[in-house]
Symmetry: C2
Subunit: 302 residues, 2 copies
Amino acid sequence: MSLLVTGSIGIDTIETPFGKRADVVGGSAIYFSYAASFFAPVRFVGVIGPDYPHDLHEVFAGRNVDLTGLEVRKGSKSFRWHGSYIQNMNEAQTVTVDLNVLAEAAPKIPEKFVDSKMVFLANTHPKLQLGMLESLPDVKLSVADTMNLWIEIAQPDLLALLKKVDGLVLNDGEARLLTGEKNMIVAAKMVLDFGPSFVVIKKGEHGSLMVSKHSPDPFVIPAFPAEKVVDPTGAGDSFAAGMMGYLATQNHLSAPTLRRAMAYGTVTASYTISDFSLEGLKTATRAAIDGRYEQLKATTNF
Amino acid sequence: MSLLVTGSIGIDTIETPFGKRADVVGGSAIYFSYAASFFAPVRFVGVIGPDYPHDLHEVFAGRNVDLTGLEVRKGSKSFRWHGSYIQNMNEAQTVTVDLNVLAEAAPKIPEKFVDSKMVFLANTHPKLQLGMLESLPDVKLSVADTMNLWIEIAQPDLLALLKKVDGLVLNDGEARLLTGEKNMIVAAKMVLDFGPSFVVIKKGEHGSLMVSKHSPDPFVIPAFPAEKVVDPTGAGDSFAAGMMGYLATQNHLSAPTLRRAMAYGTVTASYTISDFSLEGLKTATRAAIDGRYEQLKATTNF
C-alpha cells in the first residue's frame, strides 16, 4: 500500500556522551522515510528554506523515497534543532529550537500523492495533521505522533484528530500528560477511548506497549538489547517507520500483524540509535533487519 | 530440591498513594518464603526480637514453610522499616529504619537444614551471606541479592561473594552503582565477569533482563501488565522466589529453564504488588500463577 509521510525536516545539532555533530540532517519525516524505505516505497511531504545545507536527493539516493512533496519555500528558513543527551540518554534536552518554516503553512500534498492509502502524520500541530488527513480521501490507515507541547496548548485539536486516526504513537511522558495516569496500560486504554483503534506507547530503552481494539490483551515488547546507544534522535520516528513500513506490506490489520509490526519498528529503531543522524540507518539492509527481528524473538522467547 | 532462604523479617510501615499500613509483616525472607511456597517446600532462616507483633506460625499457616530456623533472640529488637512510595511507585523512600537485630550476628542454620541443595541469600551484609553459604556444604544452586549500601561500604566482601554464588539478582540502580555502566546489558555482562553464572537485573515496572554463561543471547522480559499497583514492597523478593521456586522443581539448569523461571518470578511478583504486605500473595494459588504465566506469554508473543 502506498505510504505517505508528512513531518519535519531539520538542521540538527546533537550532543551526546559520544560527541557532537553540528548541522546534520534530521527531522521526523527524514528519519521516517529513510527507515520505512527498507520495507515499502515512501511518499515524502515536507518543507525547508533555501538555506537547507544538505541535498536531500543525495541523502535519499538509492532509497525508494519519492521527494515530489519536498517544498523549498522562498523567503523562509529551515527548521533548526539543537538537542543534548549529555544529562539523560533517554530524553533530549532542547538547547535551542528555531521553528522557522514549521511555524508557517503546511506543505502542499502533490496531486500524484492524493491517492495514498497509508499516512504517517509525524509530530506537528494537530490542526495541521487533521488538515493533511482530510486532504487524503483514500486513506485506509492513518497513524499520528504528537508531543507535550500540543497536549498542553492544543488539546481540543488533538482530541479532534484522535477521533479520525486509526493509530496514535506517543511516549510515556506524553501519555501521562494526556491522561493524568501513571500506569501505562491504563493510560493507553484511556487514549483508546478517545478514538484510535490502536495506541502505542514508546518507553525508550524500556521498549513499548500497545493496546488495541483488535485484541483484549495488551502487547508489551522490550527494546532491542543494544549495547551501544550513540544518539537516540529519530528513534521514535524510525520505530513508527518500521511499524508502518511493515504494515504497508500486509493485506489486513489484525492483532498479530500489529505485533509483528511493532517488533519491526523496535528493530529498525535499533539501527538509528547506533550512530549520529542517519549514519546508523545507512548501515541497515532489509536482510539485516530481518536478522535482528529473529534475534529479538530469541531475546524475548520463553 | 530443598530450598533454603535466609533474610530479613521486618515490622513494616508502608505509605503508598493507596493508603498507609502500620506495623505489618514484612522483610525479604518473609516475602520470599510465602511466594516460593507456591512452588516448593521452603526452609526459613531468620531472626526477630521478642517484640515482634505477629505470630509467624499463623502467618505461614497452611503454607509449606518450615520455620525451624526462626530465631527469637532474647534481649534484641526486631528490624523495623518505614517506607514511602508517595513520590515514586518505582522506588521506596526510607522514612525511618531500625536495623536492630539485623545489625547483630546472623541466625544459626538448624542442623536439619544443613543438607539444603538450593539457597537464596536475601539482601544482607555480603560477609554474612558468604558465611551462610559456606555453612551449607551440599548447595548445588546459590543465588544472592544485594543493595546499594553494601556496594558502597563492603564492595570487597561483595566481590568475594560473587566468586562463590551461581546467580545474582539486583536492580538497575544497583547494577549501575556496581559497574559504573548505564547500559544494563553491558552492566549485567560486567557482573557476570565477577563470577556468577547468571545475573538478573530487575527494572521494576519495566521488567527484568538476564545474561548468563548458559547462552550468548540476553533474555529480556517485561513486567506483568498490572493495571493496579498498590504496594511494590517485596516485589523483588517475590520475583526471586518465583524464580528459585520454579528452579527447585527442575532437574537441571539450562538457558530455557532460567527463562521460564524468570517468567514465573515476574508473575509471582504481580500478586505481591496488588495489595499491602502479604495480602496480595495470599490471593494467589499455583493454578492462578500458571494462568498468569500463560497470560504473560500471550502479552509478549509476536
